[in-house]
Symmetry: C2
Subunit: 318 residues, 2 copies
């Protein structure tokens, strides 16, 4: 079933120990949509400027992603400049030119209204809340946020959190949002703000999903579950890894007939898989050129990495 | 089969957000021996002072650990004072009184000479090398070290590394020893120094084992394998978690008839299990009072935490 994602479609200028790129296609909605497109239909809401050319749109359309909701505005697209050094765990932002994104006001095309799955990528929580309110009938809502909104836009963010089924954030954001250094207690406090489940991403160490008793009402609360990340000898560019993770996670969920704990567990593995591809090349390069077969092969690598006995990858209908 | 461990038997004075203890039994060899004792016979070589009382020795003997090699010297035992704060990931050392440990010269009792498995806990690499050289016929040698020896006793440490089958260290130590920030490249460089396999411990994120092509000569080099750590809402005292991990890991290996990749994978899980018990109480408190049944139950928790489908814990002969 279809996922509607609202978020940034942008250009990134990135320097890492492996090289440098100028204004390559990026943005949270872009990375998310590409990753999710291997699993299900994806529709994007965002805004771009006059520098968004047919070749950029083709990156979406070649993957079957619906770009009806990508609004064209006068001016330049959102442009982020950053660099990574050392263990590539954290970006240093050198410039954030919001450009047409500064006045972004998401509009939902009529053709998007029946989307069953909504993903609120990391944007101003005021806009996240507006899109959420305009889609009251969606089956599931997942979202992301970041330190900036947690620190300085807490009240607006709390409105969004109250309406979320699953929040995906990293360790630092979970600690900041909860004020708790212990990650289990942090997860409980974050879920008390609304999310029925919380995915905490640990970067190179994988991710853990925590459940409240609200995601599967009437059933026993599932225990936490942890998926590994693939030990990679070469990380070319970590930009978009988190959004690609979310795309794999949510794309797999949306491709399944029912949400069950087993589906969420497997989704966490697909998140890791898509994140592991994303970092192998600059920008969206790698995700543009992967295949579902390659994704399944890598899922098997993740299983072999973490399971005591060899379990052959089975059909996703678990 | 029996493990011989050489290392510190000490007293620790520890303060954490959960409380404070004065001179509780500790030391790397102690934590290691207790954890390993649930899997196999353990023999300890160390030195203690006059403050090591029958009640302390009973902690070992109640678990069937052979204390013949614990030498009694005039003076006080090694005493470490430290504190943890925040996320409890790193200890701050407030005092290191080596006492009788300053002149420790390991002696191997005749009854220990036929030990098949040797563990060189974190002590001066000169002493590690001496014990290793005195035990030329052991079946397998594992060892640990720390930043202090890596930084200031590199040459002596390299002598030890050349003779090791498996080295167990944490992320920071692996990066320091290799000069590589990427953990996969770091593992390769560390194994080029001698260890045939390397276990890198990631604290609350678990551990990864990397293999060279020398541990199972004639077979394809096994892929890396990762075991999770249990997300714990309460970490009372992290002291000894790493040594307990090593004890679970090596104890399980020594309990198995043959070393195989499947045994190493399962050993990594038992390492995590024993580490997770260790941190639940101060000092050795928790490991003194666990049982093999409880260990198996917790292994099942680790499996459920990390395996896509429920796999019932099977008999260890895998």
């Amino acid at each position: 079933m279809a996922i509607l994602v609202v978020g940034s479609v942008a250009f990134d200028s990135i320097e890492t120990p492996h090289g440098k790129v100028q204004k390559c296609l990026g943005g949270a909605a872009t990375h998310f949509a590409l990753a999710a497109s291997f699993f299900t239909d994806v529709r994007v809401i965002g805004v771009v400027g006059e520098d968004f050319l047919p070749e950029h749109e083709a990156v979406f359309t070649k993957r079957g992603i619906d770009t009806t909701g990508i609004e064209r505005a006068t001016g330049l697209s959102f442009h982020w400049t950053g660099e990574y050094s050392g263990s590539l765990n954290e970006a240093r932002t050198l410039g954030t030119d919001l450009n047409v994104f500064a006045t972004f006001s998401p509009k939902i095309p009529a053709a998007y209204e029946a989307s069953e799955y909504l993903f609120l990528a990391n944007i101003d929580p005021v806009l996240q809340a507006r899109v959420r309110a305009a889609m009251p009938d969606v089956k599931l809502v997942c979202g992301d946020t970041m330190n900036y909104w947690i620190a300085d836009h807490r009240a607006a963010l709390e409105v969004v959190l109250r309406e979320l089924d699953v929040l995906l954030i990293n360790d630092g954001e979970a600690r900041m949002l909860s004020g708790e250094s212990n990650i289990v207690l942090a997860a409980e406090k974050v879920m008390a703000l609304g999310p029925k489940a919380l995915v905490i991403k640990h970067g190179e160490y994988g991710a853990t999903v925590f459940f409240s008793d609200k995601l599967f009402p009437g059933s026993a609360k599932p225990r936490p579950f942890r998926a590994p990340a693939l030990p990679l000898a070469e990380v070319v560019d970590p930009t978009g890894a988190g959004d690609s993770f979310s795309g794999g996670f949510y794309g797999y969920i949306a491709s399944q007939p029912n949400l069950t704990p087993a589906v969420v567990r497997r989704a966490l593995f697909y998140g890791g898989v898509m994140g592991s591809f994303a970092v192998e090349r600059f920008g969206t390069e790698r995700l543009q050129h992967t295949t579902r077969e390659e994704i399944e092969e890598r899922l098997q690598l993740f299983i072999d990495l973490s399971h005591l006995e060899h379990v052959a990858y089975a059909d996703p209908e678990v």
